[in-house]
């Protein structure tokens, strides 16, 4: 199967190479995106097939190509973990490609998008397949480069150029960190093949360094706080279908990198690893959602939610590490399943949401929620699918987002069995932060959906928006359906993940499809269980019945009238709540702590005829405290050294002379 997969990836690369030729012609878009769609769909099928095979204890496939390092070759391998992420990658890829068939029509600079889109997909696929450090890093950085080029597609706007720059530098920083990790694992004689690394058992401190490096490397790509700074800049800057890929899929590839290193290559974890990962994950989750609440740019808000969800995933991974260190296999399996499940879920609903945002963007040309509103009337389908996505990401039953977070909570509840006191105390606190993040996410998406799609239009463009084309809608509907499906019959996903989890932590969850009524029973019957199907049927059925009953037995009379609004209805759309005003209470509560938020009201004196203004200043503490100082230090050093460039020749000669004398002297006094 692996050769076939490779062939498909090569097709993607070929499409990337041929794209520039067709990019400017009308045929270019359908050709490239059509090819991408076909390939990713095929890859998705193959990946699922492989995953099913591994459930049947099939051995992982591997092969070596005469590429890359001459004496090593390019090792490729497809195991359960790889297959799962391959499926995630190509699911998102297929959705984005299909969407782009329609969305691409509005692209201003197709020649800057078409060549890099398939390359990006190919890069992500290769990362998941790579089985030696060199191939992995090549694929990894290739992925970064392609996505950077896509971010720079609309390079005219200065914001994007800055975004691209920060992104590329951070990406390379991450690559370097991964390089460090691999270098430490490979040892001086450079055994770069993953197989060799699995065999090697590094010293504890080396392993610790590797984990730290992996956390930095993968985290900077996934968007862990404080390495997230590039993400909310870069993801929105790209065309929407690319944003969907970057947020929904590429961050997952980063998660894959961490899982591969921490669980597969690195051997037995130490307890403090899980503390580090847990703490980072929790901080990331809460900070991410708080950042998101402060945004009124729709796509940036979504990007910050990616940060939040990555935090949730890492909480799951941290728990898994902790349980594995304590040797509680089944609990580790539970936590890891939860994390991977959330990976899939986030890929589903974040892609969906970004596609929706793209639809809004094409329909109105607006990303700023303050200029949107009332779109539910103009774009019913987009609104409906976006609503599903919003409910899913807010972890509301019976949708998929809830299931994974519920599983993580179940894992948190196992914490008393952990031996370390530190972890015992940390885990419940992390659970609280997770709950806080989930609740805030709900608030944030009430804002996102309510301000964008509900209420009255806040601008002419929003008033005359048109529903997007079918090609764009199809993937959104499909993703929404998948969100519901994964929430209603989570057993399928959990059982599908079983081989992956077994391969990594030894244990696995009990087979869920055997449980009556498709309930989910992660640990034991008496402990906890959940059944999304029943909830869905009950709520839907009961709601329908109630509606029918009320309409029948009571009245169905309905009168349309102006809004009541306590008797003071105002026609002007400016009287509505805005995104900013919606977030104001939360800003008041959390903002001072998280953003040094500062509000100043500029109230005109009585009799003065000008609008009162509310100025809000938010500082990004991470940016101020970490990135700006580093940049300043670098520039200062540059200025300092720059003086050396303006000496006279005689002084340069003196430098040479001095160096010579120093060397001779050392040689003279050398023992």
């Amino acid at each position: 199967m692996l050769p076939l997969i490779l062939a498909l990836v090569v097709v993607l690369l070929a499409a990337a190479v041929l794209a520039p030729a067709t990019a400017r012609s009308a045929a270019g878009r359908p050709l490239v995106y059509g090819a991408a769609l076909a390939v990713t769909a095929a890859l998705l099928v193959l990946a699922l097939k492989a995953l099913a095979g591994y459930a049947g204890e099939a051995a992982p496939e591997a092969l070596t190509l005469p590429l890359g390092l001459p004496w090593l070759g390019a090792h490729l391998r497809l195991d359960a973990l790889g297959a799962f992420f391959l499926a995630v990658v190509n699911l998102g890829g297929a959705a984005a490609s299909l969407y782009a068939l329609g969305y691409g029509r509005h692209e201003a600079a197709p020649h800057r998008v078409l060549p890099f889109f398939p390359a990006f997909l190919a890069g992500m696929n290769l990362v998941v397949l790579a089985d030696d450090a060199f191939t992995f890093l090549v694929a990894w950085e290739f992925m970064s480069l392609a996505s950077w080029a896509l971010v720079m597609a609309h390079h005219r706007s200065p914001g994007n150029a800055h975004a691209g720059y920060v992104y590329l530098v951070m990406a390379t920083f991450g690559t370097m960190a991964l390089l460090v990790a691999f270098g430490l694992m490979a040892g001086p004689e450079g055994s770069y093949a993953f197989a060799a690394m699995r065999q090697a058992s590094p010293a504890p401190w080396v392993a610790g360094l590797v984990l730290a490096a992996a956390l930095v490397g993968a985290g900077s790509k996934a968007g862990l706080v404080p390495l997230h700074a590039w993400l909310p800049l870069a993801h929105p800057a790209a065309p929407s279908h690319v944003s969907a890929l970057m947020s929904g899929v590429m961050t997952k590839v980063a998660v894959y990198a961490f899982v591969r290193i921490a669980f597969d290559l690195l051997g037995d974890p130490a307890p403090w690893w899980s503390m580090a990962v847990l703490a980072l994950g929790a901080v990331t989750a809460v900070m991410g959602v708080l950042y998101a609440l402060m945004q009124h740019d729709l796509k940036r808000l979504l990007a910050y939610h990616t940060v939040e969800n990555i935090g949730i995933v890492f909480i799951g991974l941290g728990l898994a590490l902790g349980f594995q260190a304590a040797g509680i296999g089944w609990a580790a399996a539970l936590a890891l399943t939860a994390a991977l499940f959330h990976v899939l879920n986030h890929a589903l609903f974040k892609s969906l949401l970004f596609l929706g945002a793209g639809a809004v963007l094409t329909a109105t040309g607006q990303r700023d929620m303050e200029h949107l509103g009332g779109l539910i009337h103009r774009m019913p389908w987009t609104a409906a699918t976006f609503l599903v996505g919003a409910a899913a990401i807010s972890a509301l039953p019976p949708l998929n987002g809830f299931v994974s977070e519920w599983l993580i909570f179940q894992a948190v509840l196992v914490s008393p069995q952990l031996p370390e006191w530190g972890l015992r105390f940390l885990v419940p606190a992390v659970g609280a932060m997770l709950a806080l993040a989930a609740a805030l996410a709900a608030a944030c998406f009430v804002k996102a959906f309510g301000i964008t799609f509900l209420g009255r239009p806040r601008s002419a463009v929003a008033e005359h928006a048109k529903e997007t084309d079918a090609a764009s809608l199809t993937p959104m509907v499909a993703l929404a359906a998948l969100c519901v499906l994964a929430g209603v019959v989570p057993g399928v996903v959990i059982d599908g993940l079983a081989p992956v989890v077994t391969g990594l932590v030894g244990g696995r969850l009990p087979a869920q499809l055997a449980v009556p009524w498709l309930s989910v029973v992660p640990v034991a019957d008496f402990r906890s269980s959940y059944n999304g199907l029943v909830l869905l049927l009950f709520v839907a059925g009961a709601a329908g019945l109630t509606a029918v009953a009320v309409h029948r037995l009571a009245t169905r009379a309905l009168r349309r009238a102006p809004a009541w609004d306590c008797g003071f209805p105002d026609a002007s759309h400016t009287t509505q709540y805005t995104a900013g005003s919606f977030a104001q209470p939360i800003r008041r509560v959390f903002g001072t702590l998280a953003f040094r938020a500062h509000e100043a009201v500029d109230m005109p004196a009585p009799g003065e005829v000008r609008a009162a203004r509310l100025h809000v200043r938010l500082r990004d503490l991470v940016w101020d405290g970490l990135y700006l100082p580093v940049a300043a230090a670098v520039l200062k050093t540059a200025d300092l050294l720059n003086r050396y460039q303006f000496l006279t020749i005689r002084r340069y000669l003196s430098v040479v002379f001095g160096l010579l004398i120093v060397l001779l002297f050392t040689l003279a006094v050398w023992p």
Binding site: G373, G374, I376, H377, S394, A395, L396, P397, F402, W406, L413, P416, F425, P428, A429, G431, A432, M433, A435, L436, A439, L440, A442, A443, V446, L454, G455, R456, W517, F526, S528, S529, Y530, N531, L535, F538, A542, A543, G544, T546, A547, V550, A554, T555, L558, R559, R560, A561, P562, A563, W564, D565, C566, Q576, Y577, S581, F582, Q584, P585, V589
Partner: protein, 319 residues
């Protein structure tokens, strides 16, 4: 009669009983409050009458309201109904208790709130906005607190399934635990916030700037409003049932018990409701509503109680 069948029956009974009793509880609380204020107050059945009246009235909907606005009341009501149907009231054996554990119940309430808040934003009035944004603020603090309390209880009982929790609590093994006491206090605080009671919110006020829940549903009328009112009282009953089930599971009929036990359980439950309603009324009349931005401190305290509860639990466990 097989256990499954009895469970099904019990479940059915509960499905009917819960919405039926909810308005009564609300009426009872109002009555007691009026009494405490030396008023005669409306009759216990007044809430039923109001519901009936609203149901018969025609619904007036703003011109620009979307389908969401009209669908929300049904969703909210049924979501809360489902949640309430899953909390053992008079008997533990519920056939549906597999569907959602304690966390699931909390999340169901979250779903209801989510759609209600959206509905508040739908018409695009300032009051709807105020209500929605404040509601979400309170929720974003109340939910984590609730989850922490759930943790305390669940870690204690080794389960998040309410019947098991109830059984564990009723069992002999449970002494008087500090952590449980903390959990109880915290749960009561969250319950007050979630049900928009004094001191967090005032169900009776229409002074715009102080109201939260009422502002959110300001645009509703007729049958929609009826459903929302019903849902509100249902929610109150749910929390009472929850507290009762976890901290006072006495008299509750165990799974698969006979009719007599169920009847006894029902009586016990009604008694619990009455007691809770009375306490609530006394509390509400004896305390003033707090400013909105004091609410975070209030709920933060609840959250801290929950966290403290879990940690103390570890300590006591390890001793």
């Amino acid at each position: 009669m097989s256990a499954a069948a009895t469970n099904a029956l019990v479940q059915a009974a509960q499905l009917v009983l819960v919405p039926a009793l909810a308005p009564l509880l609300t009426g009872f609380v109002r009555k007691v409050k009026a009494r405490l204020l030396r008023r005669r107050g409306p009759s216990l059945l007044q809430p039923y009458r109001e519901l009936a009246r609203l149901l018969r009235k025609e619904a007036v909907v703003a011109e620009n309201a979307s389908w969401l606005f009209r669908a929300a009341p049904y969703l909210v009501f049924t979501a809360i109904w489902a949640a309430a149907a899953l909390v053992p009231t008079f008997a533990a054996g519920l056939v549906l208790n597999r569907a959602a554990d304690l966390i699931g119940i909390v999340a169901l309430l979250g779903t209801a709130r989510f759609f209600l808040a959206l509905a508040g934003l739908d018409v695009g009035t300032s009051f709807g906005g105020i209500g929605a944004s404040r509601e979400m603020l309170i929720a974003s603090l109340a939910e984590p607190a609730m989850i922490m309390l759930v943790f305390t209880v669940a870690l204690h009982a080794g389960s998040t399934q309410l019947p098991w929790v109830a059984a564990h609590m009723a069992g002999a093994g449970v002494g008087l635990h500090v952590s449980l006491a903390l959990a109880l206090v915290g749960l009561l605080m969250v319950a007050l916030a979630e049900n928009a009671r004094i001191p967090v919110d005032n169900p009776a006020t229409h002074l715009e700037l102080t109201m939260v829940h009422e502002a959110m549903v300001l645009e509703y009328s007729g049958r929609h409003l009826a459903l929302i009112e019903a849902a509100a009282s249902l929610k109150l009953l749910l929390y009472v049932a929850l507290v009762a089930c976890v901290f006072a599971p006495w008299g509750m009929a165990p799974a698969g018990a006979g009719a007599a036990a169920c009847a006894l359980g029902a009586v016990a439950f009604v008694a619990k409701l009455a007691g809770a309603g009375f306490l609530l009324a006394v509390f509400e009349t004896s305390i003033a509503k707090m400013r909105l931005f004091r609410v975070p401190d209030f709920l933060g305290a609840a959250l801290m109680l929950g966290l403290l509860g879990t940690l103390l639990l570890f300590v006591s466990r390890s001793l």
